[in-house]
Symmetry: C2
Subunit: 339 residues, 2 copies
Amino acid sequence: MIIDCHGHYTTAPRELEAYRQSQIAGLGDPSHVPARGTLNISDDQIRESVEKAQLRLQRERGTDLTIFSPRAAGMGHHVGDATTSLHWSQACNDLIHRVCNLYPRNFVGVCQLPQSPGVPPANCIGELERCVKDLGFVGCNLNPDPSGGYWRDPPLTDRSWYPLYEKMVELDVPAMVHVSASCNPAFHFTGAHYINGDTTAFMQFLTSDLFKDFPTLKFIIPHGGGAVPYHWGRYRGLAQDMGKPPLREHLLRNVFFDTCVYHLPGIEVMAKVIPVDNILFASEMVGAVQSIDPETGHYFDDTKRYIDAIPWWSDEDRRKIFEGNARRVYSRLNARLSR
Amino acid sequence: MIIDCHGHYTTAPRELEAYRQSQIAGLGDPSHVPARGTLNISDDQIRESVEKAQLRLQRERGTDLTIFSPRAAGMGHHVGDATTSLHWSQACNDLIHRVCNLYPRNFVGVCQLPQSPGVPPANCIGELERCVKDLGFVGCNLNPDPSGGYWRDPPLTDRSWYPLYEKMVELDVPAMVHVSASCNPAFHFTGAHYINGDTTAFMQFLTSDLFKDFPTLKFIIPHGGGAVPYHWGRYRGLAQDMGKPPLREHLLRNVFFDTCVYHLPGIEVMAKVIPVDNILFASEMVGAVQSIDPETGHYFDDTKRYIDAIPWWSDEDRRKIFEGNARRVYSRLNARLSR
């Protein structure tokens, strides 16, 4: 079985965006009372939205299951307040749930959290619990920068995160660290903000002792870990100069990397420096880059090809990357798949 | 000849820091009139500060010349106002000039610019001109985020930068894009802010047509280009999806990468995807990581070893990386070295 741990519902029916626009319009109207509202999308619309996109790509590329979450850029935690974010997150998560129910062999859910700038992350516990317990989701996406590119909230190692981490540990679900859209003109979203968010989160973990406090807490850093494997020597050296333990011991029981790196030489450096047990297959499809690489004749985001091309990975290594590690990190996946 | 294009004066005598602290103390005193002040450092102090550090490392590692600039984290453009920044930049640049005069075969100067948040970059033209024309410097370090980790100023492609770029073109000097310290608790300076700054700048260039307006403007992106070579497929794909020309044509006549990547697998991915003509040898010594890699027994930042170890680079390739490209990009270097 081949599990893609990083897929977003970027192809949702346009009614979802209309719902969001109406929510945003309400924010500008002082007489408006925020309400969850309704979202009218039929099962057929959902089928159409994934049949021609994610499901077709799964078939064409030979992957089986996508760990599926709302569109990352769409999370927009900087918009409105915590109530805005809760209503929007519930709408997005419920839609993921419907996709997963329609295609239980192809999709398993991961939720968006109702984060909001300046609001303690403990506020997200209710929605996380609902998604895991009621909807059968296996993880969450956690935004290290709810301000949308201005980085005004405390780092991921701040104690304000601890109540959410305690709930993640209790529910046995990991978080993928994933920023949302950038409102900052300095940062292009998929080309700079996403990658910077990954690098930043890793360095926050490195400088802290978070995993002494939470030895079973698990994070996936997407987009191949941002800049981290490329600069693995720098990170090993920085940790050493700070008197931290070696990275394997300090972070790699808790921090994992996905394979959303869109060329073979990138996957090669990851394969050389990151232990196989810490790598989870992912393609981010349908995502940041949607065209064919003229140098190879294949889609940039057809990342399975790069993994297949690493000569020193054994069949057992590839089984871990494609399936075993995802089942271990998203621990609830086994129960979910045996239903 | 082996030219290291990225060295900072991180070992300056402590009088420099005392000068800065006194300058900062003055900012808090409403009756204080900002003045350039004096900095009493003897030639012997300067000799001592580099003999045991940069000069010793040059000898030990077999490099010849360092393109030398003030400490990057020390630039602190967010401190005070444009006058604060001008006085501090002049003090730092004059000190670099003294190092270069004492050791003209070992150091050539690159200046810090007196940037200040919200102040148009044109304000830096005077100091750039002084450093190039009067002090014989061959380039400048340009901070894409004078706010120190909050990214409140316009991107490098904004037209407010154009007067400075016009002067760079006129003087025929390149800029190394280099952030300074981070005041933002989200970003560790050498582990996150530096690398993010590099990635961010590259993506700003990618989304723009800056080099149509300035076909001879040249930037060096340090720290191996941040995350860029690792994600080269992503950047090629993003450019393609945006309808931009291939990156070689779109950016690589103007954008260069240094080799401050502290392990061989990192340099390998750079060597696979970045054309040899766009790679400039650098070590950032004495810099971010100062210890020995227990996996190799050599200093992490002894980057010459990694370049020597790439089997598919020819002697001619290595001559370009070690010398030829630096002479081409820092075009004033030839005249400076033949004095």
